[in-house]
């Protein structure tokens, strides 16, 4: 029972992080390798707002969330906009460089000390019993709920709103979409805003559940296999992929060897890539034609 809870919590963590990879990839075919750093930035944002408005934690969280989305727009407008049309690898390298810059800046501004935003907010991470034999932490529960809400909202957004449909169109065929009058720059900026927003939220939750320091960066990378197993351009795939990877991870830690947890996600990934190179739900890349 506890194992099932662990799988669900870990899967929501992976899913919340990986939806940012998917959002950016499906509109612009760029893989953002600054995702972990953007999580870090979001979490430091929460730490700062929590220190500023110490009275009302809800306000602090809301401010931090808005801040994360704004950062996403800035990243696009100042940086990624100029990389449109450049080779994908160069764009990926720009995100890597952005990551290095963000890491340096966070050390400069907030030093390398470990921080505890949850403590600053004045909340505590309670332990809740959900059955006789299973417990979940409050932040863990928040993770599950937030992930469900984010995926639900994204589903509605992409299926039933004008901007969502435009975003899908831009992802499917940018040229055609642009010619039909869709403002591609606005779409891309929106994708970056959404991705950074979810990354920021994920960062805040991880920082609340554990603590906030530079190791956050590598956590962003750990969600990577989950996004790929499901298919880099499918949100449903990211969800299922997260479940598969976290199930494999939790069960192996429990029954075989904790040390395997680092390799397993990538082993699952390699197995998946050999069988279905485009992932579980990803769209098959087009065939080459002369």
């Amino acid at each position: 029972m506890q194992l099932a809870v662990n799988i669900v919590v870990l899967a929501s963590i992976y899913a919340l992080i990986s939806c940012g990879y998917v959002l950016i990839y499906r509109v612009s075919r760029v893989l953002s390798l600054a995702h972990g750093e953007l999580m870090l930035l979001g979490a430091f944002g929460l730490f700062t707002t929590a220190s500023l408005v110490s009275g009302s934690p809800i306000l602090a969280v809301a401010m931090a969330a808005v801040l994360a989305a704004v950062i996403g727009i800035l990243v696009y407008v100042l940086l990624m906009r100029r990389m449109t049309g450049e080779s994908v690898l160069a764009a990926v390298l720009v995100t890597i460089a952005l990551g290095i810059l963000v890491r340096g800046l966070t050390v400069l501004i907030w030093s390398t000390q470990e921080r505890h935003p949850l403590h600053v907010l004045g909340w505590s991470n309670a332990s809740l019993a959900i059955a006789d034999s299973a417990r979940i932490s409050a932040v863990g529960l928040a993770f599950v709920l937030v992930t469900a809400a984010v995926y639900g909202a994204l589903y509605i957004f992409l299926r039933h709103t004008q901007w969502g449909i435009r975003m899908r169109a831009a992802g499917q065929n940018p040229l055609l979409a642009a010619q039909r009058g869709i403002n591609l720059h606005a779409i891309y900026a929106l994708a970056w805003a959404l991705a950074t927003f979810t990354a920021g939220i994920a960062g805040m939750l991880v920082a609340c559940d554990n603590a906030l320091d530079q190791t956050m960066v590598t956590i962003g990378l750990k969600a990577f296999p989950a996004a790929l197993v499901g298919g880099l351009d499918s949100l449903a795939g990211a969800l299922i992929g997260s479940l598969i990877v976290s199930a494999a991870e939790v069960l192996l830690i429990h029954y075989i060897d904790p040390l395997l947890s680092e390799v397993v996600p990538f082993a699952v990934l390699v197995a998946m890539l050999i069988v279905r190179p485009w992932g579980l739900f990803g769209s098959r890349e087009e065939l080459d034609r002369v």
């Binding site: 990839y25 160069a90 460089a97 290095i100 340096g104 050999i274």
Partner: protein
């Protein structure tokens, strides 16, 4: 390999096309460069010599990655894993059997070739980022195995190796030979059938196949050649630094090599060399610059973070404003002198 330029300089025979140095200026420049390279260890202090050695090591790895990514068009994020494989092969053979360098270096090459096949297999089905990530997965597996070896044998601070040579000048000579060999090998491969096949694959796979190129074989060959060179570079690294440890081959190292290839300029061996020089020396240059600006004592502790952030910032600016890489700058400078005193743009830019 030199490419025809827009200056109205033409070749009139195949023999000229085959030459690696085909003008007098190039030959003179090459000789001057060689003289400078030979003179360096006699004028430089040991720190500068160490930097030079680091650059030479990086050149081997960058050339290997350039063959794979810049020419054959296969993106790999497993470069640090391959370096680690070569280094661990060396470390293990040394620790377990006391093997000498003439055993470990070929062994590292063999391991590299085998890993090249393994790293390359996904490329038969995968393309672009998916391929990149599958090589990343292999990186983690190699590092995991290395880490297990270290822990099981109790080498808690890394595997220490006695290098066969310890003098920095001797190392400089050895690394020069290795780097020159790597560059020469790459240049020769590229102007042969193999290089042309890689070019074609990078251009368009379907067309390459229609031209009768055996795509799987050439893709695997690209991986094997690149992995072998990288693995030998890893072996040299292990001997040069005298140790091997998993933490020395982090993902950041891969990123550095990818940065060398892109900053240098895709599809150019000269670019790989320039990129290796730039990326290796850049953090030190930044450090010196920041240190040479007088700062109040109160800020002294923030300087390290400034260095770190500046590295990211300059890399971003570079990618935004000079997408053709260092080689692009080099070509512009060349054209400037070739066309002097006319400032007009060259009629056609080299590919």
């Amino acid at each position: 390999m030199s490419l025809p330029r827009a200056s109205g300089y033409f070749r009139s025979g195949y023999e000229q096309d085959w030459r690696l140095l085909d003008t007098r200026t190039q030959r003179v420049a090459f000789v001057a460069f060689a003289v400078a390279a030979v003179a360096l260890p006699f004028v430089a202090g040991s720190f500068l010599l160490d930097l030079a050695n680091q650059v030479l090591l990086a050149v081997i790895g960058a050339v290997a990655l350039m063959l794979l990514t810049g020419y054959a068009g296969q993106i790999s994020l497993g470069h640090a894993g391959l370096l680690a494989a070569g280094a661990y092969t060396t470390g293990m053979l040394f620790k377990e059997f006391g093997a000498a360098w003439w055993v470990t270096a070929p062994a590292a090459a063999v391991v590299g070739a085998l890993l090249g096949v393994i790293f390359g297999l996904p490329s038969l089905r995968l393309r672009g980022l998916y391929l990149a990530v599958s090589t990343l997965a292999l990186h983690f597996i190699v590092i995991y195995l290395g880490n297990e070896y270290e822990t099981k044998r109790g080498f808690s601070t890394g595997v220490v190796i006695d290098p066969p040579i310890s003098d920095a000048r001797a190392w400089y000579a050895v690394l020069w030979a290795a780097a020159a060999l790597a560059v020469l090998l790459a240049l020769n491969l590229l102007r042969s059938k193999t290089g042309r096949a890689w070019h074609a694959i990078r251009g368009k796979e379907a067309v390459a196949e229609a031209l009768g190129i055996n795509i799987p074989a050439y893709k695997l060959l690209a991986f094997v050649v690149s992995a072998t060179m990288t693995s030998v570079a890893g072996c040299l690294f292990a001997y040069y630094r005298g140790f091997v440890s998993a933490e020395a081959f982090s993902l950041f190292l891969t990123i550095q090599y990818v940065a060398m290839v892109i900053i240098g300029g895709m599809g150019s061996i000269l670019g790989a060399v320039l990129g290796a020089i730039f990326v290796t020396l850049f953090p030190y240059a930044i450090e010196y610059l920041v240190a040479s600006v007088p700062t109040p004592v109160a800020w002294a502790n923030s300087l390290f973070a400034v260095n770190y952030a500046a590295f990211g910032l300059v890399m971003i600016l570079f990618l935004l404003f000079e997408p053709a890489g260092l080689v692009g700058i080099w070509r512009r400078v060349q054209n400037y002198f070739l066309l002097w005193p006319f400032k007009r743009k060259p009629l056609a830019t080299s590919p």
